[in-house]
């Protein structure tokens, strides 16, 4: 009985039951009724994910410690980091907006990446389940990719007003968007299904 149930998977979007079948690397299984993704076998193994996560953390640091763009207007110069922008918002009585931007572009992505790092490092020894659940709850609220588009819109808007020089952090955010897209496509559930990262 236990064996049979352990081999079942329920569609997260319509609850239809399916029998789990082994997948080739990079494949995903879809629900026959509603087409939602049931489970996937990630293209990258956990030990291949690890360098990506470390790289993303380094890029994250660069993106936050360097100015995003430099503005030049009639001899005047202005530049700001992401954190500087958030402090600016906080300073002018827009604490709610500041907190929202801080959480979605800085805090949540950082916590997500650090937790991923910890989980991948620990995946050989065990699975700290509460941390996994925390990451999964947090994930939809990290919005680096939306912020990247926001940078581009702001740059276009400012280019009417001033001479705009892209800063180091602009490129770092672009790289981070790509890295995060790869990292977030790694479904944490697959670690439960294939603890060693091997094909079942």
């Amino acid at each position: 009985m236990k064996q049979i149930i352990g081999n079942l998977v329920a569609c997260p979007e319509c609850d239809a039951l399916h029998r789990r079948r082994p997948l080739a690397r990079g494949d995903k299984a879809r629900c026959v009724r509603c087409g939602a993704v049931l489970y996937r076998n990630p293209r990258l193994r956990p030990d291949q994910m690890l360098p990506l996560v470390v790289g993303a953390l380094v890029t994250f640091g660069i993106a936050n410690f360097f100015p995003i763009v430099d503005l030049h207007v009639q001899g005047l110069h202005s530049s700001s980091t992401l954190f500087g922008s958030i402090r600016g918002l906080w300073g002018e009585e827009r604490q709610m907006v500041a907190a929202l931007v801080f959480a979605t572009t800085l805090l949540f992505p950082l916590v997500d990446l650090s937790a991923m790092l910890a989980l991948l490092l620990l995946s050989r020894f065990g699975r700290p389940a509460p941390l996994w659940r925390f990451v999964q709850a947090l994930r939809p609220w990290g919005m680096i990719e939306v912020f990247m588009l926001g940078i581009l819109v702001a740059v276009v808007k400012l280019s009417h007003l001033a001479h705009v020089l892209p800063g180091v952090a602009l490129w770092a955010f672009a790289a981070l968007t790509v890295l995060l897209a790869i990292i977030l496509s790694f479904d944490p559930r697959s670690l439960w299904d294939h603890p060693s990262g091997g094909v079942s």
Binding site: I5, G6, L8, V9, A10, C11, P12, E13, C14, D15, A16, L17, V32, R33, C34, G35, A36, Y39, I68, V69, L76, S78, S79, S80, S85, I86, R87, G88, L89, E92, R94, M96, V97, L100, T104, T105, R127, A129, P130, W132, R133, Q136, P140, W141, M143, V146, F147, L149, G150, I151, V153, A154, V156, K157, L158, H160, L161, A162, R189, W192
Partner: protein, 210 residues
């Protein structure tokens, strides 16, 4: 259209929302926890319809100040200006960036509006236990989930402008009250779609839940 699928609910099973393990539903143990990862097991999201409805109403109310109040106050040598979301779009359109104007119109005006309408109709149809158009409704929900976060774009643009444009005396930009309202609309609609359980779309009319 498709063969009648057996659901976990009908088989007396429940699947863990965190690790995906399917386990038998033991109502005796309260609150039930996943034996593998310890996550809380619920057959359907708790109070799905009332929660998403509440978030939707709150979002709809805030949608009005979000569009009427200025999101950005800019002051320069040429005078002060208050920009709402719509006037920002008009500015992009008239200054030659029609593509960007269309993009911002799509993510900040159309998406929040359509998202609220779509979620509202989903909640209503599930409440009526309508068995029709299940595939279309499931697809609609997937779009809503995917596209919702992109509405944050305008909030981020305002935040960046505030941080960047600080030339004392020459030009300064401040965030207006509309930005806070708009951010709240995006968060509330995201909460509304997260509390909605898409499995309710497929549940048979005779099942009793919620």
């Amino acid at each position: 259209m498709t063969t009648a699928a057996v659901t976990a609910w009908e088989a007396g099973l429940v699947s863990c929302p965190y690790c995906g393990l399917v386990c038998p539903c033991l109502d005796a143990v309260a609150p039930p926890r996943c034996p593998r990862c310890g996550g809380r097991l619920l057959r359907r999201k708790a109070e799905s319809l009332s929660r998403s409805c509440a978030f939707l109403v709150a979002a709809a109310i805030l949608y009005i100040p979000a569009n009427l109040l200025p999101v950005m106050n800019s002051a320069s040598m040429f005078g002060a200006e208050k920009d709402t979301i719509l006037s920002g779009i008009v500015y992009f359109w008239t200054s030659g960036s029609q593509g960007l104007a269309a993009l911002i119109f799509f993510v900040s005006i159309l998406v929040p509006m359509l998202k609220m309408a779509a979620l509202g109709s989903l909640v209503w149809s599930v409440h009526r236990r309508s068995p029709r158009h299940q595939h279309q409704r499931a697809f609609l929900f997937r779009i809503v989930e995917f596209v919702g976060r992109w509405s944050m774009l305008d909030v981020f643009v305002v935040a960046l402008m505030v941080g960047l444009v600080r030339f004392r005396g020459l030009a300064e930009i401040e965030a207006g009250p509309g930005a806070a309202a708009f951010g709240a609309v995006v968060v509330l609609t995201m909460l509304a779609s997260r509390s909605f359980d898409p499995r309710l779309i497929w549940d048979r009319a005779e099942d009793d839940h919620d």
